[in-house]
Each structure stands twice: as structure tokens, then as C-alpha cells.
């Protein structure tokens, strides 16, 4: 509350300093928010493309594994899947987009050649190869989607936080500071006016006393 501050000149100066700092902070945060939104829009476009690709790749993988299960049997497909030794590995690093730390996911051993999948070539069919290949593509696409969508979520959180800070400065902190500044200024002006009034009173009183003294002397 503005009335909580002591209406002193020192406090006024402190508040003026805080107002200046807050206004600068508000401008910077507004610029950051706008920048983040622009970056977010780019990532959003990318995420939409990745999501749509992911949906297509998933449908394709599902269709191929269904075909393999239908034609070669569930047992053969499960057996071929069980023969896999080298499972995909994922390494996460981080990069910085306008102060927001977003993940960078690198995957290895996702795409495999026919001899790396573990199952024998002689006793299996091209359907199993196609299903395995389609699922490898799907895993790559999921990893890409995870990277882009996590970045998107983090950007959104940061935009939200920045927006809240800008709003707090714009609608709470700065108005309070302006109010305090105005209150102190008014109070100081009032004190000044009171001081002048008081001085005038004293002066008048002194003049009256002097006049009274002169009158007494003249009567005497």
C-alpha cells in the first residue's frame, strides 16, 4: 500500500529508482516475450509437421506389422522381435533458445541393417523386414517429435512465466510504485505547504509581538 511508506525524500528517491528499474525490466521482458512467441511460432510449425509425419509413419508401421502378423503369424513376428539384441540408445543434451533450456535428443542404433536385426534371413519373409523397417522409422519419428514437442512445452512455460512477470510489473508493481511516488510527493508538498504556513504564522506572531512592544513603549 502506498500509505505504508514513510513520506520522506529519501524514500521518494528510492521509489523513483525502483520505478526506473522496473520500467526498464518491463521493456526487456516485453521484448523477451515477443521474441519467445516468434521462436515458439517457428517451433509450432515444425511440431505440426512432425506430428503429422508421425501420424503417417505410425499408420504405415501399424499396417505393416498387422500384415506381417496376418501373413507370417503372431508367433513368427514375436520370435523375430525377440531376436533383437541391440536396442536403440538415446542421449539427451541441451541447447539454449533465448534463455530457455530445451533438450536435444540424439539416437543411435535405431535404423538397422538386415543382419543387425538378429533374426535369420533364410527362414523369415520380406513382410517381417518391412514391419521392422517401418517400426525403426517410427522410433526415429517419435524421438524427433519428443525433442520438438518438449522444446515447444518448455517455450510455452517460459512464455507464460514471462507474460506473468510483464503483467505483474505492468498492472501491480509499477502502479503501486507510481501511487507511492504520488503519495510521497503529495505528502512532501503538503509538508512544505505546512512549513511555509507555519513560518508565516511565526513571522506574523513575531511581527505582532514587535508591534505590541512598540505600542507599550509609546504608551509609556
Amino acid at each position: 500500500m502506498a500509505t505504508d511508506v514513510k513520506p520522506t525524500r529519501k524514500n521518494l528517491m528510492a521509489i523513483e529508482d525502483r520505478i526506473e528499474l522496473s520500467e526498464r525490466g518491463h521493456d526487456t521482458l516485453e521484448q523477451k516475450r515477443d521474441g519467445l512467441i516468434m521462436e515458439f511460432m517457428d517451433i509450432l510449425d515444425q511440431a505440426q509437421d512432425v506430428r503429422s509425419d508421425l501420424s503417417g509413419v505410425y499408420d504405415d508401421a501399424q499396417r505393416k506389422i498387422n500384415m506381417a502378423r496376418a501373413m507370417d503369424g503372431d508367433i513368427a513376428v514375436r520370435g523375430a522381435a525377440a531376436a533383437l539384441k541391440e536396442h536403440p540408445e538415446i542421449v539427451t543434451q541441451s541447447k539454449n533458445i533465448m534463455g530457455v533450456v530445451v533438450p536435444e535428443i540424439e539416437s543411435t542404433k535405431v535404423k538397422k541393417s538386415l543382419d543387425e536385426r538378429g533374426y535369420g534371413v533364410v527362414g523369415t519373409s520380406a513382410r517381417i523386414d518391412e514391419a521392422a523397417g517401418a517400426y525403426e522409422d517410427l522410433i526415429e519419428q517419435i524421438i524427433l517429435a519428443a525433442e520438438v514437442e518438449t522444446a515447444m512445452k518448455k517455450m510455452l512455460e517460459e512464455i507464460e512465466t514471462t507474460k506473468r512477470r510483464v503483467n505483474a510489473l505492468e498492472f501491480k508493481l509499477l502502479p503501486d510504485l507510481y501511487e507511492s511516488q504520488e503519495y510521497i510527493e503529495q505528502k512532501l508538498e503538503e509538508q512544505e505547504r505546512e512549513e511555509i504556513f507555519r513560518l508565516k504564522k511565526i513571522k506574523n506572531k513575531k511581527e505582532e509581538e514587535e508591534d505590541d512592544a512598540v505600542a507599550v513603549e509609546s504608551v509609556a
Partner: protein
Amino acid sequence: MNATVGSANYSYVSARVRSRRAALFDENDYRKLIRMGPGEIARFMEETEYETEMNALGSRYDGVDLIEYALNENLAKHFDDLLRFADGQLNEYIASYLRKFDAWNIKTIIRGVYTDSETQEIQDDLIRAGEFSDAMLDRLVESTSIESVVEQLSKTLYGSALAEAYEVYEETGVLVALENAVDRAFYSDMLGGFPREPSEGTAMYVQLLRAEIDFRNVRNALRLARSGAEIDPSEYFIPDGRLFDADQLRQLTQNPDQLTEYLRDSTYGRDLSEALDELESADGLIDFERALEKALLEYADTMTNRFPLSICPVIAYIRAKEREVDNIRAIARGKQAGLSTDEIEEELVIV
């Protein structure tokens, strides 16, 4: 009962096989099945040849899994019957051909042991239609390591191939070498044991087996070529086919167009023309594999018509029965996965 003991009873087995072949699902049955949902397919099967297996397995499985396990069990029962019907040399030929299920079971057990699967899960996936006894399969399933599986198989026809492949497995840690060794040992063995001067029917059977090997070599070579992996196709080459030796296949694989031309000019040119057209027009190999399968079924039927009192009708029946199982499974799984009627129809091979 069998008219001859000790020598091959071709006429008796051919008659039994003919009647069983006639009982297989025909186009009308498939047309009905395609229009049913998985539940209806299961009910339909309960009223057919598969009734016993569906009822026996009904308490353990449900849905499409029940259908698939019932199909496998029925397949094993029919093939066991063939071995019971056949005597002498014919029995040996059938047993040798049915060893493909031993190969399947060995691979299933190796994969199960490799992934520490539950014993019951591995047992469920076996198709007991081969030569291995139930006791032997149970012992293999109980194995705690792949080394133990290889050791137990050391006295079988897969022994030496598996022992060699086990060294590669120890180096690489992947099952490819072991699985390929099992399949190659099966194919090598299949062509052994024929008399030097076989009857015309047996000679045609040998031709059929060699065609199967050729087709598999072509399939595998094309898969390797299309995978883009730097693998030498001769590593996966199955010897004893009619068309290629390992070097020839390696060279032809580098140029798929040349391979297609070579096949068109080969002895299978006419039988494979449809499959080769599929190969040239499609991006994937699936249509080609299906067309090869169809060609092989038709080839077996042609042999049957030419030599009705030979092993050929039995092999044609075995392949047709396997195809029936594949077709029913394809319909049930396809329906479960929501594939359209056209898509499922396209995948069926009906001869």
C-alpha cells in the same frame, strides 16, 4: 490299413491325401470367412475340421490367438497322420520334408532362451509336426542357455552347423548365424538320401525341392539387395538349387534387372512370369513373395497330376494344408487389425 509294410505304400497314402485335400477350405469357404468378424470366424471353425483343437484350446486362449494356436495344432495332427500312414521310403521322404517344423521349433526355442522367456510361452509357440519327440522338445525348452540347446542338438543333423554358428554367436551376440545355420542344415538335409537312380516321380520331387531352394535363394538375395546392407549374399546361399551357384547369385544380386532377366530365361521362366511381373511393377517384395508361393503351389499340383503315385501328391497336400492355415490366420488377424476385405483378399493365395 497299410497294404505294404517295409516298402513305400504310395497308393494308400495318395488316396488318403486326396480325400484330405478335398476337405480343405475352398474359395467359397474363404469368401464366407472374409465377410465374418474374428468371433464369427472362431465359431465357424468350431463347426469344421478344427473343432477338436478349438474346443481343446478354448479354455487357455481366446480371440484370434485361439484361432492361430488351433490352426497350428491341427496342422501338426494332420502331418503326424501322414507319417503314420506312410511306410518305408515314403515315410522317410515325408519325415525329411516335415523337419522344417523341427527347424522352426529350434529357432523358437533359441529365441525363447535368448530372451529368458517363460517355459510355457515357448511351449505354446512350438508346432509339434516335425521329427523331434515331445520329450526332446520339452528338454530343449527347459534349457537355461543357448550353449545347452546347441549341445543337446549335437547328435542331430543340425549339430555341426549349429556348433560352427555358435562360435559366431559368441563373438557377435546375435542369433542370425544360429538361425541361418538351422535353416541351411534343414535344406541341405532335405536333398540328401535320395537313391542314385530315382523313379520318375521321386526325380520330379527332387526337382520340386530344388525349385523351393531356388525360390528361397532368389527371395533372400533380393531382400539382401534391397536392404542396402553390406552383406555377401553367398553367406545366405542354400546350395543344391538348380539355378545358381553362390558366385553367380552374388553377381546377379548386384544388378536386380539382370537377375529378373536371368529368371525369365531360366527353366522356371513360364511358372514365374506372373511373379516377375509383380516384382518389376511393385516397390516391395511382398507381392513377389506371394506370387512365388503361388507358383510353387501350382508347380507341386502339376507334379501331382503327372505322378499321382509318388511323393508329389503328399508334398502338394502338405503345402496346400500349410497354405490353408496361412490363409485362415491371415483372414482372422486381418479382420482383427481392421484390414479391408479387398486388402485381405489380395493377401490370400488360393490354388
